[in-house]
Amino acid sequence: MTSSDPLVEVSDLAVEFHTPRGLVRAVDGVSFQVGRGEILGVVGESGSGKSVTSLAILGLLERPSGRITRGSIRFDGQVISNLDERKLRRLRGDRMSMIFQDPLTSLNPYLTIEEQLVEVLEFHRGTPRAEARQRCLELLTQVGISEPAERLKSHPHQLSGGMRQRVCIAMALLCDPSLLIADEPTTMLDVTIQAQILELVRSLRKTREMSILFITHDLGVISELCDRVIVMYAGRVVEEAPTAELLRNPKHPYTEALLESTPRLDTPHGGVLRPIPGLPPRLGTAPVTECTFAPRCRHVRPQCREGEPRLLPLEGTTRSRRCIAPPEEIGAD
């Protein structure tokens, strides 16, 4: 492998779940790459497939109800979408790790912070306890926890939300992973704590050259943190672009509509928000015969109903989108 190859390569991924309502294809034909040292943002609303995609990368789909039915995931050149649980377990928490939205449910309430952190190093590295403890102290300090020795003795409920998320981040970093997947890690935190965590993530990328897949619905967070963004809708990637270009000049009608419906500080007071009419489609497994966004799209034209557009590069740019409307009709230009 050379360092210019992407660290993660997802190709034509499809994931299906058995639910009480029948079979649901939550992710359908998703392809993207995460470069080395890159922060890739994933934006989308509930049900867009953004979390399922990340769980699939980590091999954490709930079995047997959820499974990959098509496509592949490569990590550092190796196909990992067909690995067995034992091999995946060696990989997870070591070369790739994850932080979730709710740090309280990610931590074991019965164990002290020390027990949970040391366990990671013992399992993956066989590090002796004293040495592991020293490493945990270092990491807790790095993620900005004061009095780390005291904190090691605490149970999760004794820590505040921001502190718990820092512990989760420290835990995710113990083995120096090359990939960190962060699924809405700041959504439950207050903005001042969020700012601290974002600063921490940024500095981690710089000092460790880690690749980060950052999932969020907050376009402000995307703007501050990510190099590139993919926008997901109804289990598909509908647009992919460098962050500033995407936010300044969206080229897919969904991205455009999402930006217009976002309340922001620079919107004049009393300015009416422009919501997206209607609701996202219900996902099934029926063959898709039209663009999934067509029913809510204001740029819709008859051809949109004749078949689903593919995700194609936009000529003369480094971005791509899944739309047939002329690019000049959408966004800023």
Partner: protein, 337 residues
Amino acid sequence: MSDAPGPAPRAESAPLVEVEHLVKHFPTRGGWGKNREVVRAVDGVSFTIRRGETLGLVGESGSGKTTVGRTLLRLIEPTSGRVRFDGVELGSLTSGALRRLRPRMQIIFQDPYASLNPRLSVGEAIAEPLRVHGLARGPELERNVVSLLDRVGLPSSARDRYPHEFSGGQRQRICIARALSVKPSFIVCDEAVSALDLSIQAQVLNLLRDLSDDLGLTYLFITHNLNVLRSIADRVLVMYLGQVVESATVEQLFSAPGHPYTRALLSANPSPDPLAAFDPVSLEGEIPSAVHPPSGCRFHTRCPEVFEPCPTIIPSNHLVNREPPHRVLCHLAEDAA
């Protein structure tokens, strides 16, 4: 003015809600060898809300904003302080009189999943408050339910369906319809759009704004989301550790924030504009415990502009602008001439 008993007729210009020095202390559970202590959730909060106004209440978790909303409606009893609603002092009311006043003050919560009884159809859920308060029955009740559904943008066929058949945004519409059923003049919205997806959040915000325009509703809008606040509130109170540290119109607050805490909050809020500078004022640590709030100014332990008097002397409220009034609880603030 007559001497007749009961509330005097109120001028339209009089505030709908007046809160004076509201205090709510919760006792902590004393364990083995632990003394019972109190959490000073709300510690001396005063404000007024004019008719038809949307007052935003913003603060981080633990600031006491939710407790203000609930004590205001007397869903929990305040420790002390006074709340007047349309001129009537709520503390002086018997429980029967308070119940008769309830239809006029409603609340919408963050989680529309938890706010609806899964066993009641949507029609029954919306009709329930009307029935409980004896406001409508029979065919009139049915007509009311249909027109309420229409008012919040749901089809009349929704009546016979159950909450689980609806998405989060639609459920919040159902909750709004139910709150509207008893023709309130005041609604507390407690993080009412926080759990919704962006595109849906905008739909519900626009609905709330239309309702206030059309029906003259007054809102107390509690949120931690500054962007949402900017789009819906007329005036804003910023809370920190049980106290209001700044009160201003939404324009004043966002263009000239007076309190260092407000400035930190605003700077920490990332903008989707890629050209906007993001340089958050970093606050040390997290919000301190409301059991032992810091001495002097409660914000001094995290304040980037802390100076000599802050740790020991309690700051007073400064009127930094007279009209419209803009108040800041900080030693650095100066009264307008």
